[in-house]
């Protein structure tokens, strides 16, 4: 039977500063359908879901829900329209009770004249949790007493409680273990049963095919295609996702991995709250890929190898002076550079000029007994802006006004200016347009030839397979498999290890 269209997205565009996150995207989703949305990082799949859920405002375009135009400016208004969103990051607040989290923003309906009847709210919260088959979580307890997975289940209960007409699940699957996943799938089934619609955003193509009726593919903010039922094949989807044959010239050309003899960094049986007995060695002139789900501990390992955190047990040694890494200052002295995952808050100072950002960690090199004239600084900054081809019309401009790709170039200019021999990239191409992505890949290749050691931490398997000499896959804080570079490595092989 012909399901009438529930969600109609027409020519929606959205840009953050100069980066075009969404370019003229239009697609329809029918009532009772479970629509998957896939795309590489930065393809705009999270942006479109947040716009529909009222978190971001769209620049242009119209979104109709059941034929009526949708003007949801906040999540609460979206909820009123029957739209619920489960976010990727942590969506619950630790300091308040589980029940308060479930009814965050609409406590008004549990009491009158601005006061809340906590007993009633706790009862409702218990009911919400039972609705998704969970009775281990007590609603009146403080949320930070539960672990990450249980807090995500609370979010699922919160979304399902209002029986949304449109449920949006934004890459939540990877924060859940098998038990949590079963709950999520049962919720999606329940929504489908009462005729609701689900937007399911994920990385994992196998999971997608199992659950979704259809899938929309986005690439770099542009709508590519939607496939239905039968003709959803993983390989085909991947091609559409990446946009070109797994052509070689996009990633590295050489098929064989190679690395220098000299071990540049060593991690020996490290234990932290996330990592379990991790041991690895990084060689000179090698690109070591580190893959896995987003909370498998690879990001924590990256921070550890830059001295930002200290291991509870085990050692992180930089071969240069064979000492344990004390702090980032010591790491930088040993020639380690770290490109953080959250670029705007950690890797670069937004409210500062490009020149200051580039010169900041090489001040001791530029200056004589601490003093550096503006001239010296300008020369140093221009030299590296040139080398990295950062698109900026004046070195005094603030980094805040640059596009994502240019910001990343500024970070690279900073570390290469510093002359760091060991570079830790944490999702370097996240939210960056194709042109700059390609430039970064070629730069990595050059650095590898020059003998730099690169640790590439990435959530995108194509990137890992294309760029690394050696790939380590992590799962739940453990290194589960190690493969050398070679044509026989496929994504499905790695995905099996990751999940």
């Amino acid at each position: 039977m012909e399901h009438e269209v529930l969600l109609d997205i027409q020519h929606v565009s959205k840009s953050f500063g100069l980066t075009q996150a969404l370019k003229d995207v239009s697609f329809q989703v029918r009532q009772g359908e479970v629509r998957g949305i896939i795309g590489e990082n930065g393809s705009g799949k999270s942006t479109i879901s947040n716009i529909v859920a009222g978190i971001y405002a769209k620049d242009e375009g119209i979104i109709r829900l059941n034929g009526k135009e949708l003007h949801a400016a906040t999540a609460v208004e979206a909820e009123a329209e029957g739209i619920a969103l489960i976010v990727q990051e942590i969506g619950t607040i630790g300091d308040i009770s589980v029940a308060s989290n479930i009814f965050l923003g609409n406590e008004k309906c549990f009491g009158s004249r601005g006061f809340i009847n906590h007993r009633e709210m706790n009862r409702e919260a218990k009911k919400a949790l039972e609705m998704i088959g969970v009775d281990t979580i007590a609603p009146e307890v403080r949320t930070d007493r539960y672990n990450l997975e249980e807090r995500k289940i609370v979010e699922i209960a919160k979304a399902f409680y209002i029986h949304p007409r449109l449920l949006i699940v934004d890459e939540t699957a990877n924060a859940l273990s098998s038990h949590g996943r079963k709950i999520l799938y049962s919720v999606i089934e329940a929504v489908k049963k009462y005729g609701g619609t689900v937007l399911f955003i994920t990385h994992d193509l196998e999971e997608l095919i199992k659950i979704c009726d259809s899938v929309t593919i986005l690439r770099d903010g542009v709508y590519i295609d939607t496939c239905y039922g039968g003709d959803m094949h993983i390989n085909e989807l991947k091609v559409k996702m990446v946009g070109r044959e797994m052509s070689d010239h996009y990633y590295r050309a050489d098929a064989e991995g190679s690395r220098g003899e000299q071990v540049v960094m060593r991690v020996e049986n490290v234990f932290t709250s996330m990592l379990k007995d991790v041991t690895l060695e990084l060689h000179e002139g090698e690109i070591l890929g580190l893959g896995g789900l987003s909370d498998c501990g690879m990001h924590e390992l990256g921070r550890l190898m830059f001295g930002l955190d200290q291991p509870y047990a085990g050692k992180v040694i930089c071969a240069g002076d064979a000492q344990r890494l004390k702090n980032p200052v010591h790491a930088i002295k040993c020639g380690i550079g770290y490109v953080s995952k959250n670029r705007d808050t950690e890797a670069v100072i937004l409210q500062d000029s490009v020149k200051n950002n580039v010169c900041l960690c090489s001040l001791d090199k530029i200056s004589k007994l601490g003093f550096a004239t503006p001239l010296q600084e300008n020369r140093f900054a221009d030299q590296w802006i040139q080398k990295l081809k950062v698109k900026v019309n004046h070195r005094g401009e603030y980094v805040a006004s640059l596009s994502g790709g240019n910001k990343q170039k500024v970070v690279l200019a900073k570390w290469l200016g510093r002359g760091s021999r060991i570079l830790i990239f944490d999702c370097p191409t996240r939210g960056i347009d194709i042109g700059v992505k390609e430039a970064i890949y070629h730069l990595m290749e050059e650095l590898k030839e020059q003998g730099h050691a690169i640790l590439l931490i990435s959530e995108e398997l194509p990137e890992l397979i294309g760029m690394s000499d050696r790939i380590l896959i992590m799962k739940d804080g453990k290194i589960v498999c190690e493969t050398m570079r070679g044509p026989e490595i496929t994504e499905s092989l790695l995905i099996k290890e990751m999940i």
Binding site: T92, L104, H118, D277
Partner: protein
């Protein structure tokens, strides 16, 4: 249920211990029931101001202009009391407090100045404005208008404020919004809670609570003198410390009660120092050092609890790997 009671006992033990300490030092004067009565009644005003400050402090903001505001409230109340009597005092204080609250809210919203810097400028504006109205003269109120400052009066006001505070902090939508914003502003904003409106409400609320406290303060002291410069900050040092002590004890018992215990602690200290006839210098030093100790304890405790949590998980990982 018994966990709640045992926590409450632990919290109450602290002021009792401090009281005994001063009892040992000065048995003659601290031994009487009258002293306990005085300690408790004198903590009312400090506690009410602290209750008002609690919301902003939880969100990491500090309102230093409350001292100057209370003086301005008392001045306006004293002027009204000549014609309207006690209702004049109550109306004067609350009205002036409300206007000061709105002024702070508007300045914060329109001019977007950080709250702490804004309050420093307001100490000057509100304090000097008070001085301008009375031409730096002290104002007093007639004895028959001071009912609210005396025994039955201040207790009634205190209990009513306590009940209002209990409902506001624990039972109201605003109260849960404050806890949410204090916990994670980003997530609260995504869920439709306006962080700015919550902060403006907290600014107005802290002024209203200070207004109520000003009523009791004026009626108790029967006089008010305009302040010059930053002296009015001294009047709110005790409430500020009660808030921090209250936060430290808030894990064991409801924050409303823990702040009251905090203000009793401060009242014991000030009474103790008067009884021991220590000079004002020692009072300043003792107050300053206690404030630093509490703040240091809160920060260090937070860091160590996080580190301890990670250690526990790491040890669990090690055990798991050894199996």
């Amino acid at each position: 249920m018994n966990k709640k009671i045992s926590n409450a006992i632990v919290v109450v033990m602290v002021p009792i211990a401090l009281y005994l300490f001063f009892l040992l030092l000065r048995p003659k004067s601290f031994g009487k029931i009258n002293t306990v009565y005085i300690i408790i009644t004198q903590s009312f005003i400090t506690c009410m101001i602290a209750w008002g400050m609690q919301y902003l402090a939880k969100m990491g903001e500090f309102d230093l202009a409350l001292g100057a505001e209370m003086i301005l409230d008392s001045i306006i109340a004293a002027l009204l009391s000549t014609r309207l009597g006690i209702p004049g005092i109550v109306a004067g204080c609350l009205l002036s407090a409300f206007v000061c609250g709105i002024l702070k809210g508007v300045l914060y919203r329109v001019m977007k100045i950080p709250i702490m810097i804004l309050t420093i400028a307001l100490i000057y504006l509100l304090g000097s404005f008070g001085g301008l109205i009375t031409n730096s003269a002290a104002l007093t109120i007639a004895y028959e208008h001071t009912f609210l400052g005396r025994a039955p009066g201040n207790m009634i006001v205190f209990l009513l404020t306590g009940i209002l505070m209990y409902f506001l902090a624990n039972k109201s939508v605003y109260g849960s919004n404050v806890n949410a914003v204090a916990g994670a502003p980003g997530i609260s904003r995504n869920n439709g809670i306006s962080v700015e409106r919550t902060k403006i409400r907290s600014l107005i609320l802290s002024s209203m609570f200070a207004g109520i406290a000003a009523i009791v303060q004026l009626s108790h002291g029967s006089g008010v003198t305009p302040s010059v410069g930053l002296d009015s900050i001294q009047n709110i040092m005790q409430p500020m410390m009660s808030v921090f002590i209250g936060f430290v004890m808030a894990q064991y018992v409801n924050v409303v009660f823990s702040i009251f215990v905090g203000s009793i602690l401060m009242s014991i200290i000030s009474n103790g120092i008067t009884a021991l006839n220590w000079s004002s210098a020692i009072y300043n030093i003792v107050v300053g050092i206690i404030l630093l100790l509490i703040m240091a304890y809160m920060n260090v405790a937070k860091i160590y609890s996080k580190r301890h949590e990670e250690k526990v998980r790491a040890i669990a990982n090690i055990k798991e790997m050894n199996l």
